[in-house]
């Protein structure tokens, strides 16, 4: 197992490098001069703009800029934000926990809804329970996130007053944003879980278990579910990218701090260092989480063989 993890980690390095190259390239393809933007409104003379470009190193050949960027990266230096003049690593460190917490709670809610609907759907196949469950979770995907969030605020915060409209302040504040995001993710979990479970339930060893006299719930929950969880777990890891997309919207609507809104502000302001920093951090998390998922996968299904 250790060897496996080690090998995967090393295998991830090219991906991380590829991402840095990709993001670096894209940013420099975007029309617009960051130095000009930073100095906008400051009455700077053209000479000052040129000076700033030089100071930021933007006038050097791309390859050298990239090399410098990677070198500093290896020392943990993500640069300084063009807008706020703070260190990018600091800014991300401040904003990251909020998004991470949101992501976690979202996945918990998504899994909760998805697994329940999936299990019920598989067991009571084709009945109205099945339709209800599938319908409910699919609704989460069909409703655009920003609208759903506003509706949730209207119902639960304004009319019922149960939960706050602003998504901060601990437990109560995170429920609505996470529910809005989580509902959307639950759909695919439901579908996968249900399909997997149906297939598993048709297997011979399940009938054997029934024949042995085990109760239905035990059969389903202990034996079948464990195998059905495999694709679900892998999926959660891969959805991380989508999670950030959803987080961008939800953080804006609920007024939460987080990487999503940080990224959007940075893109609009052409704040290269921050954009690069965010993308890298997200990619790193993505790689780590998927590694974790593969490990869990191997643990859940001993039949899987990693060549």
């Amino acid at each position: 197992m250790g060897l496996f993890i080690g090998r995967r980690l090393i295998g991830s390095l090219p991906i991380l490098f590829g991402i840095t190259a990709l993001v670096f390239l894209i940013l420099h393809l975007i029309p617009g001069d960051p130095a000009q933007i930073m100095l906008f409104g400051t009455n700077a003379t053209p000479e000052q703009v040129v000076n700033l470009r030089q100071a930021l190193g933007l006038d050097r050949p791309l390859l050298i800029q990239y090399g410098d960027f990677v070198w500093r990266l290896l020392h943990g230096d993500l640069g300084v934000s063009f807008i706020s003049q703070r260190r990018v690593s600091e800014e991300i460190a401040i904003q990251f926990p909020a998004t991470a917490t949101l992501a976690l709670v979202t996945m918990v809610i998504a899994a909760g809804i998805g697994l329940s609907a999936g299990v019920l759907g598989a067991v009571y196949r084709d009945g109205w329970v099945d339709m209800l469950g599938t319908g409910f979770s699919v609704l989460g995907v069909a409703v655009p996130n920003f609208w759903l969030s506003v509706l949730l605020i209207l119902v639960f915060a304004v009319h019922l007053g149960w939960l706050p409209a602003l998504g901060e302040g601990g437990v109560r504040g995170i429920i609505l944003p996470a529910a809005s995001l989580g509902w959307g993710f639950s759909a695919i979990i439901t579908r996968l879980c249900r399909a997997s479970l149906i297939e598993v339930l048709a297997q011979p060893y399940v009938s054997t278990a029934y024949a042995k006299g085990l109760r239905a719930s035990v059969v389903v929950l202990r034996h079948a579910l464990k195998n059905a969880l495999i694709p679900v777990v892998t999926l959660l890891g891969l959805q991380l990218g989508n999670l950030l997309s959803g987080a961008v919207v939800v953080e804006t609507i609920f007024g939460r701090q987080g990487i999503g809104s940080l990224a959007v502000r940075a893109i609009q302001a052409k704040d290269f260092p921050t954009i690069q920093g965010v993308v890298l951090v997200v990619a790193l998390v993505y790689v780590l989480v998927n590694l974790l998922v593969d490990v869990v996968y191997a643990a859940l299904d001993p039949r899987v063989h990693y060549g």
Binding site: G32, D33, Q36, I37, M38, L39, F40, G41, T42, N43, A44, P46, Q48, V49, I83, S84, Q85, R86, E91, I94, Q95, V150, I153, L154, A157, V158, G161, P164, A165, L166, E168, T252, I253, F254, G255, R256, Q257, G258, S261, L262, R265, Q268, A269, K270
Partner: protein, 567 residues
């Protein structure tokens, strides 16, 4: 008591002109003005009692109450000398004190009132300004306030390392500062700077603690603002909120305030809520007690709600307007520009979007601004027939699909909006109005600050305009020839005569002498049809009725010094 609903309040100080560099207060949606029910929208008339009466004794009880203010944009810096954003301005206003206060209309015959400076003199050529300062003022970190602090602050602003976005423009052609004594300071300019008195009355040029400047450096003070104001900075959680708390030692409030001593409120939290509907909902749930920039329909709903107050304050400067690019065809033709002016129906736009809230604008200055000339309003009143004949004269004949054409080219304009600023609705209405006279408009959007570069390049025929200021000298920033390549002159308009007039207008500090120059400059600019005024903006805030006695500056920023929170 109708007047309780829409409170007008004390205008405490003019704001720095360059202030709007990144500013968007201009609205995300339209600020609203509950002029409905107000009748006489007196411009700067405060409800506050008038001159002469001495302010009340010091606050009787200890500061109490916490107000949460919902604002839409995250500040990028809390240093008034650096920042260009309104969000930052809201906060600085309560953490820093200006040298003087600009309150036209407050008292007969007096426009400026003492702040940290007790009295001041201006040289005849408006190049030297001497201030005699109070001796009993301390910064939040205990440093005594002296003339040296003023000098250090101004040097900080002009220092290129600071990258000041707005204060540096407000300061003007700065030469140096002379510390004559601990309580006497003279600021010297390279050229006449008649606008300076208006600008020094803003938080942009407010003194910063020299100790803080030394300790944190030019960049560091962005995160550690130390001023002399009624509130002091406590914390800034980026992306979330900024908290300021009452300054217990505060004892140098301006005479125009309602009380002396520490503020009534214990704490103010400026909460960042980017989404307008959430700001409104948070106001309804009580999570936010004051909210800015709400959608017009939402504000209208609150006008008649029992537990809410809508505060409005008129501002001076320029109205919200569309800038027309004079260098790019087809708007390089004066007749086409004039046709646009006549084809614009400001009243209909107000009726559709801002009914009862804003007034339509027909002038490049707002009423109440020095040198505002009401006769210019008549220059371009809605007259589609006139617009059509102008286009005919310019050679644009009726063409297919209702769009005119000339030499086989359709009459098409590129209208580039600033994304997410709330101007897109106006542009849609204009698009429809202009189509009626045969002009086709393509609307697209780019976000700020990227769009600023586009505007500077001149790829547009029409641009959003969001820069404004209190002093007519703002024409320097918007209409000057040297502001085309890198500044705010998005009309690419250059008329040396206008530039000269504007400089002359700034050569003296005497308002009476400045007026004729600015009037002439304004008339010339309007005749060139480079700007299409749309509405007179006002500052509009909605608040829980528990919040009382909020005052506003000439630019409509809220001051919480006298404010209280009812239980």
């Amino acid at each position: 008591m109708k007047t309780r609903r829409v409170k007008r309040t004390l205008v405490a100080k003019a704001l720095r002109p360059g202030e709007r560099a990144g500013a968007v207060r201009l609205t995300r949606r339209g600020l609203l003005a509950g002029a409905a029910g107000l009748g006489s929208a007196a411009l700067l008339g405060p409800l506050v009692r008038s001159a002469g009466t001495a302010p009340v004794a010091r606050a009787a009880t200890a500061p109490q109450g916490r107000v949460v203010f919902g604002m839409w944009q995250s500040p990028e810096s809390l240093d008034p000398g650096t920042s260009g954003l309104i969000s930052s301005g809201y906060i600085s206003l309560n953490v820093f004190d200006p040298l003087i206060w600009h309150l036209p209309g407050m008292r007969q015959g007096q426009e400026y009132f003492p702040g940290l400076a007790l009295r001041w003199e201006v040289s005849a050529d408006a190049k030297q300004f001497t201030f005699h300062l109070r001796k009993d003022v301390k910064f939040h970190d205990g440093t005594p306030f002296t003339a040296q602090a003023v000098k250090d602050t101004l040097e900080h602003i002009v220092n290129p390392e600071t990258k000041s976005r707005s204060a540096i423009t407000a300061l003007g052609p700065y030469s140096h500062t002379e510390v004559k004594a601990d309580d006497v300071v003279t600021i010297v300019f390279k050229e006449s700077n008649g606008a300076f008195l208006n600008n020094v009355a803003t938080s942009g040029l407010a003194p910063i603690s020299p100790t803080a400047l030394k300790q944190y450096g030019n960049q560091g003070v962005s995160q550690h603002p130390v001023g002399t104001g009624p509130f002091k900075f406590q914390e800034w959680v980026p992306g979330s909120h900024v908290t300021i708390v009452a300054n217990p030692d505060y004892n140098w409030a301006p005479v125009v305030a309602h009380h002396q001593g520490p503020p009534h409120l214990a704490e103010i939290t400026y909460r960042i809520v980017p989404d307008a509907s959430t700001r409104f909902n948070a106001l309804k749930t009580g999570e936010v007690l004051v909210a800015e920039n709400l959608a017009p329909t939402d504000v209208t709903a609150l006008l008649h709600a029992p537990n809410f107050t809508v505060f409005t304050a008129s501002v001076t400067g320029m109205p919200y307007a569309i800038m027309v690019n004079v260098k790019r065809p087809p708007t390089d033709d004066l007749k086409v520009r004039q046709a646009l002016e006549f084809a614009t129906n400001q009243e209909a736009i107000i009726e559709a979007l801002y009914k009862g809230i804003y007034q339509p604008a027909h002038n490049i200055f707002l009423p109440g601004t020095l040198s505002y000339d009401p006769s210019l309003d008549k220059m371009y009143q809605y007259n589609p027939a006139r617009a059509k004949s102008l286009l005919d004269e310019a050679g644009w004949k009726a063409g297919p699909g209702g769009t005119r054409q000339k030499d086989g080219q359709p009459l098409r304009l590129q209208f580039i909006n600033i994304a997410n600023f709330g101007f897109d609705q106006i542009s849609q209405l204009l698009q429809a109005q202009w189509q009626d006279v045969g002009i086709q408009t393509d609307i697209s959007a780019q976000s700020f600050p990227t769009v600023a570069e586009t505007y500077n390049k001149g790829d547009h025929n029409l641009a959003d305009f969001f820069y404004y200021s209190v002093d007519p000298f703002l024409m320097r920033a918007l209409y000057a020839c040297d502001q085309v390549a890198h500044g705010f002159n998005w009309m690419h308009y250059c008329d040396p005569q206008v530039d000269t007039l504007v400089s002359k207008g700034n050569a003296t500090a005497d308002p009476a002498k400045r007026i004729p120059f600015f009037r002439q400059a304004a008339k010339t600019a309007m005749e060139a049809a480079v700007v299409i005024p749309i509405y007179q903006q006002r500052a509009v805030f909605a608040a829980s009725s528990r919040v009382q006695a909020v005052r506003f500056t000439v630019n409509g920023f809220p001051i919480f010094y006298d404010a209280t929170l009812r239980a």
